[in-house]
């Protein structure tokens, strides 16, 4: 499976800013390798963020998102100690979930 995601969730003024760095190749399907064959597209297609178990943000990503994707968003009404979980699914069917606590 892929490397763990790095999630930082910081509470500030009643909200929490969450920054996530995911480890993923994010192949567009446009590149060709040394022999001229097109490298097939392999990228994250869906991302879900939950706050204390409740889904607060979902995203659909295309091949244009950069390699090792970064995501930043702000959860309303979060406080220190809350749990934030991020899940991604890619077009090969792989998926990964990582959790962090708001600090």
């Amino acid at each position: 499976m892929a490397d763990p995601m790095r999630i930082r969730a910081q509470a500030a003024g009643g909200n929490a800013t969450v920054r996530v760095l995911m480890a993923h190749e994010m192949e567009t399907g446009q590149r060709k390798d040394a022999s001229g064959k097109t490298i097939p597209a392999w990228h994250i297609t869906e991302v879900t963020a939950t706050h204390n178990g409740k889904s607060v943000l979902t995203a659909e990503w295309g091949p244009a998102v950069a390699k090792n994707p970064f995501l930043q968003f702000t959860i309303k009404g979060a406080k220190a100690g809350d749990k934030v979980a991020i899940t991604w699914k890619d077009n090969k069917g792989d998926s990964r979930t990582d959790e962090a606590t708001v600090s």
């Binding site: 909200n15 994010m26 567009t28 446009q30 590149r31 297609t45 869906e46 963020a49 706050h51 409740k54 889904s55 607060v56 943000l57 979902t58 995203a59 659909e60 990503w61 295309g62 091949p63 244009a64 998102v65 950069a66 390699k67 994707p69 970064f70 995501l71 930043q72 968003f73 702000t74 959860i75 309303k76 009404g77 077009n91």
Partner: protein
Amino acid sequence: MNQSRRTTLRQGAVVAGLLLSTGLFPQYAQAFNAKAFEAKSLADVLKALGAGAPTESKDVTVAGPDIAENGAVVPLGASTALPGVKQLLVLVEKNPSVLVAAFNMTDGVDSNVSTRAKMGQSSDVYAVAVMNDGKVLFAKKEVKVTLGGCGG
């Protein structure tokens, strides 16, 4: 013969039921929308997402650099102060894949998202807010790219 057909049918129904319960069929109507990501223009993306005609708006902001040194990693963001946002979209007009990302917002998050995208060449970047009432508002910003990001 009859026995095995019956059990096969029953097992098929059980498997189908299990598949439904695993959540492979998402509860929200938006599964990965491949058509939207294959669209080649802002208008086509919105059509694929079932959204209406877009209007430029000062209330939507595109966050991004004026000049991106590395087209493989361009920080781009979309935000709006308006309430009632259903979706925030980030599009790069001249990319082979115009729609970079679609974020489905809920009341639990601010309408402000940032990510990093690949840009093949200097292009307009659009931030689009699809509102709950069906209005589609957008803002655009030109981002110049000195080194293209599609591996070309």
